[in-house]
Symmetry: none
Subunit: 402 residues, 2 copies
């Protein structure tokens, strides 16, 4: 398990450059017992040629059997132990819509729900999945609510989901959720888990009471629940730990958000992998470490669309020569978790991993795929160890002990 204090002690500045390519959810499964996985089915001449010159292996994102969400999966890639550092759902949701969350803000995920007008009991936890436009209109109404000495932000997400952010002095997390997780019950009050969070709990309960009044005339969304009420986890920042100037290239806000929590600079980019590669090229001289995120491998896996996921991988492969042309000192290619098309969701399976630097011991892997990587020279490792490995291969970690 990576010791961040040790990394802080051993890491040094340098001229070398590291690229971490995250093909989100790239790990797959065969659709039939004898078939290939998505990555194995994809025609990837550039990845395969790189694999020949690289050392490969398999990596567990969090722990055996654990299917990580995007938060824990990326924390592990950034060398934070995801079992120790948790990103609250409210924070992830705020980051996911590109909200400019500040370190003392309290963020909650809100869910519109339907309450029985007489008894106040929940009859539908998702308010009949109201259309996104309706959610947006209701958020507009909720912005009328004001709290003493605190600014509030209400931002629509999708359908019945929204984000509530409180900004002000003396706000604390360590708060329970209001969603009783079943219909036929009343929303629960927010309660402080830690004594210093008592005032924040009061404010949130006051906000919820006001929201009930504001929404009273609405149907079906006449109430709401707050979940995952949390602050920025205050991670130690990668630039401080590793003496790296870190740039993040990602097309989706949530990944930019997690990168920001880790202390990376966010590089504005377009929607395509080509545009991401252009961004990389443009900023090449300014940073030492690049997080390069490809989203759609995961999206197509969640859709259960094997062929479409294959196409995304092939798309990345076609762009890879532009990335390699920059001549990084270290390049790592892997994913944050598996999303096999046959499973249609994040899964617990290990990720294939490819590591190239001038200083690797080449193994016998000649194709970047799950089965070839099972026999790779890196063996079976863990995501939290990848960044320290990359640092070493980049000549940026001094000797430990005399």
């Amino acid at each position: 398990m990576t010791d961040l204090n040790l990394m802080r002690e051993l890491s040094i500045q340098g001229e070398t450059k590291i690229i971490l390519v995250v093909l989100d959810g790239v790990g797959g499964l065969p659709m039939t017992p004898d078939g290939p996985t998505e990555l194995e089915a994809a025609q990837t001449p550039h990845l395969d040629a790189l694999a020949v010159r690289s050392i490969c292996g398999m990596s567990t994102p969090v722990a055996p059997g654990i299917s990580p969400g995007s938060g824990p999966g990326h924390l592990a890639l950034f060398s934070y132990n995801p079992l120790q550092h948790e990103i609250g759902r409210g924070v992830l949701e705020a980051l996911g819509i590109g909200f400019d969350l500040q370190s003392e803000d309290i963020a909650a995920r809100g869910n519109f729900c339907t309450l029985d007008p007489e008894t106040g009991l929940i009859t539908d936890r998702r308010a009949g999945r109201i259309p996104t436009e309706v959610g947006a209109r209701l958020c507009e109404k909720l912005r009328q609510i004001s709290l003493p000495d605190v600014r509030t932000f209400v931002e629509p997400v999708k359908e019945y989901r929204f984000v509530l952010v409180l900004r002000g002095k003396g706000l604390h997390d360590g708060l329970t959720e209001t969603d009783p997780q079943q219909v036929g019950k009343s929303p629960l009050p927010v309660e402080p888990i830690r004594p210093e969070a008592a005032h924040t709990a009061e404010l949130l309960n006051q906000w919820i009471a006001e929201a009930r009044k504001v929404l009273a005339s609405e149907h079906p969304a006449n109430g709401c629940n707050l979940r995952g009420i949390a602050k920025d986890p205050g991670l130690p920042k990668l630039p401080e730990i590793y003496k790296l100037r870190c740039g993040a290239i990602a097309t989706y806000p949530m990944y930019r958000g997690v990168a920001q929590l880790a202390g990376m600079n966010i590089l504005p980019t377009g929607d395509t992998i080509e545009e991401e590669a252009e961004t990389l090229t443009q900023h090449w001289d300014e940073y030492d470490f690049f997080f390069f995120h490809v989203k759609k491998t995961d999206s197509r896996g969640e859709d259960g669309d094997f062929e479409a996921k294959v196409k995304v991988i092939e798309h990345f492969d076609a762009v890879l020569p532009d990335i390699l042309a920059l001549e990084p000192d270290v390049i790592l290619v892997t994913g944050d978790h598996s999303t096999p098309a046959v499973w249609k969701a994040h899964s617990w399976h290990e990720l294939p991993i490819l590591l190239w630097s001038k200083y690797i011991r080449p193994d016998r892997v000649t194709q970047f795929g799950e089965r070839p990587c099972m026999a790779g020279g890196l063996g079976h490792i863990h995501h939290v160890d990848l960044l320290p490995l990359a640092m070493a291969y980049a000549g940026r970690l001094i000797k430990f002990g005399a």
Copy 2:
């Protein structure tokens, strides 16, 4: 290392079924450097066919170099860290004879010994390994001893070994043993390691003093020592952690006992592997998880009888189709530890492991044996992680984090 609290948080109920087959002590060694291990020598067409469709690997039961007893080996298989959860020897011994141990009972392993009648010093720690019948008769005599407010049970085990159980209110463990581990010394008094165990220590010392009187006229067993004085370790129960209805099928009491400590229901069965498979079939609808224990691989290994151990493995292989006919969602085949015939005892060697589910990535292993499994796609894993993996493959763990 498996985090049982995390497992409790992520596990969900489901319709899927898991079978954990434990071929006790199955791991072996070649008798000559070029020879096969017991498992490799065995003709196992069904295991091999299953290996083709499975993902295989090697697993360390407790830690590198550690030869586990049956207790720690099974605790690890049931996902308890055996270095944190210890089952006292007295408890294991009581379970081993099928004693109905209750959660507040104090159990000790007793050893008859020979004392010099004049000095009271031990002259033989095993009382000349008296025959089992003599041990039984002496236990009968020891049952006369009564203690204030506490029931006592004295049960013969084998030769010079017996079990003493105290049942009553306010009994505590945390007690030293009386065996000085060498001849020429007196038995030591039982001493409390924790203050609350002082009264229990007094009771046991009183019982020992009475036992000296009762045995005074006997030879060579005119004294006794108490070892491994302990209570049920109070493990968190598997059905609660994993939301599994757990059934245990084992022909020997000790394994039924350990399964019971883990919260499994014990399914009465016969002496043969066929009868165990029938029990499995009969109870198939009632449970989600089955622990299926095959004892004799270990017994024949301890005998040093390579060929007989091979035969037990082949015997299991012949029954395997009946087990597979039930169509489990996940089946795991491994052992609790190795017992190579050439070593004639439990050993520290890794166990070959085979995991089948619809959602595995098949590797290139085509035979279930130690050498093929070394190149398996699971790599080198740990027993404590097997149950979390099985849970994931059974679709019974939700995503961790958002």
